[in-house]
């Protein structure tokens, strides 16, 4: 395939803790094509953010480490790359925006200095040139009066503005891949709408592929073409966005969709997924969702279901889905 940008094969990122080894990402495989937006969803602790950090080579070591698998970016395995080579890719070809715009900008440098850093480092631009490009980048993300704002410090900007600066910073080197980890979670809805609009326009004007990590299924429905659902360190389902919302296969995906209150429908009582996410130090036998699954059968306890193809562009890891049981509504 010619337009394959990123292929992740059997990625395993584990954390060593005093109580044992914590498999945060436990054998995850997926791909991303040029210019597409893929939503990575799941609840806290499912491994979605650690997947993102692994792509960037930002897993804190110790205690974390990529213990297996490969990350092929444009044919090159990032896991095997030495640190200085990875640094040339990070912020250049792959960049990332974080959830907290307050804590991810450096408070003692002006916005301009932080924007110019990747340009000077990766592109070797001289200061005036880098400054001009930084102003251009601020304009692109819709910051009014960028010539003045460039000399502001982060605390002088509102939350939405800071997130725009973060996005501008991530885009300065025109990356092929943008990893956005909960980019709108800390923002108010009206500001969130502005930022989502911005991300959509980036995709069309720059052709940047986006891996959008979020727990908000509404945000995914609106921005992604494909959706990957994670649970307890594993991918449980992957499908084109319409299929995920119209005919989810995995009981977990079904449970998630059923449990969100909706603005476009009214129900007397929300449905729930009983129980809680299992402790990563003691995952249950067989399928990790099995203790909470309303349909768990003997096989689910005995054996872990593999992630297998289930129709065009779809994969699911569930013993029941294969038999066509989980597909009915």
């Amino acid at each position: 395939m010619t337009d394959r940008l990123l292929t992740v094969n059997d990625l395993k990122t584990y954390f060593r803790t005093s109580e044992g080894v914590f498999p945060a990402v436990d054998g995850v495989s997926f791909h991303l094509d040029k210019g597409e937006t893929v939503g990575l969803v799941g609840e806290s602790g499912c491994g979605k953010s650690v997947t993102a950090l692994s792509l960037l080579g930002l897993v804190p070591d110790p205690p974390g480490r990529i213990v297996g698998g490969e990350i092929l970016f444009q044919g090159q395995d990032l896991v095997a790359l030495p640190a200085d080579e990875r640094r040339k890719i990070r912020g250049n070809k792959i960049s990332m925006i974080f959830q907290e715009p307050m804590t991810s900008l450096n408070p003692v440098y002006t916005v301009g200095m932080q924007l110019m850093e990747p340009l000077r480092f990766h592109r070797g631009l001289a200061k005036p040139e880098a400054r001009a490009r930084a102003i251009e980048a601020l304009k692109q993300v819709g910051i009014p009066a960028p010539e003045r704002r460039i000399d502001d410090y982060p605390h002088q900007l509102s939350g939405g503005m800071r997130q725009r600066v973060m996005i501008a910073m991530a885009l300065t080197c025109q990356p092929q891949l943008l990893v956005a980890d909960e980019p709108t979670t800390a923002l108010d809805v009206t500001i969130q709408a502005q930022i989502l609009e911005l991300l959509k326009s980036i995709k069309t004007t720059l052709g940047t592929a986006i891996l959008l990590i979020t727990h908000d299924l509404g945000v995914v429905a609106e921005t992604a073409q494909r959706v990957i659902v994670m649970y307890a360190g594993k991918i449980v389902e992957e499908a084109p966005v319409r299929d995920i919302f119209k005919s989810p296969f995995h009981p977990y995906t079904q449970g998630l969709l059923a449990s969100i209150p909706r603005i476009d429908a009214t129900v007397d009582r929300l449905s729930t997924i009983e129980g809680v996410v299992p402790n990563p130090l003691h995952y249950p036998a067989g399928c990790r969702f099995q203790p909470r699954c309303p349909r768990a059968a003997a096989q689910c306890v005995a054996q872990e279901p593999p992630l297998v193809a289930a129709g065009p562009g779809r994969r699911v890891a569930c013993w029941l889905a294969d038999k066509g049981v989980a597909g009915d509504e």
Binding site: E43, P144, V189, L217, V220, S259, I263
Partner: protein, 326 residues
Amino acid sequence: MSDVLLAVTGLKKYFPLKKGLLGKTYGHVKAVDGVSFAVAKGETLGIVGESGCGKSTTARVILRLIEPTAGEALLGGRDIFAMDARELRQLRRRMQIVFQDPFASLDPRMTVADIVAEPLRVHGIAAGTERRELIRDLLRTVGLSDAHMGRHPHEFSGGQRQRIGIARALSVKPELLFLDEPVSALDVSIQSQIVNLFQDLQQRYGLTYIFIAHDLAVVKHICDRIAVMYLGRVVETAATAELFTRPLHPYTQALLSAIPVPDPDAAQERILLAGDVPNPVDLPPGCRFQTRCRFKLPVCAAAEPELTDVGNGHCLACHLHRVSSN
């Protein structure tokens, strides 16, 4: 309205801004600036708005966790702000709050039993085995078990901690419960469990809720009536169904249209608001929303619109409606 439990009129809370060695006041953050609403017995009123609109401050002032600058709040006809220390203690048995962050609102060094027992001790309710029995009942009510009594908060997940916070609030058998973003910090699958718990408790004990949140889908699900706040003021109130089908204030319209719908086929017409919320220290004269409003009229810069009933208990603070209906 029949059976009003809480009536708030002209509530204000200004926080002074100080500078210099002598702490000279040079301005005020008008966090709550003339808020009025009423809550009937057994109903759930939602207060929505974006960060900094004053929704949490409103709750804290009514609970007298902080002192008001001006205004009146009547609980069952008695003025909360005129109460002395003794009356205030009685008041706290009638009103309780559940906080947003279940990680920060429980003392990490106390056991679950101690946390739930604290309000009982403070108010001198029950003692000895009777108190223990009461705590056991409370924990069961919120979906926890006896086995949890001796444990500490860090041993629990976010959803379970929120259940502990709810048990604590219920221990004094309050009539009115402020729920300040009670499910915002929780995962979706846990969020629905807690929302259902609130509904069960309301039915069982006839509780009145003031539900403060920024997630409008949750608010729509649980609330009977909604008040929309913007920069320290209520700009619109209406019954939930009415507000969602016929939002009148331009801010409410934008807010509702900004909610992402979990349906890829939903044809949504989005009203994008330009710019950010203005600084609550120097507000524009006239309507607070005018700087971001699509329909701004000359009158909007001149006078602040008052909250007025436009029919069926639908209240609105906007010049636009008056101009168009005249």
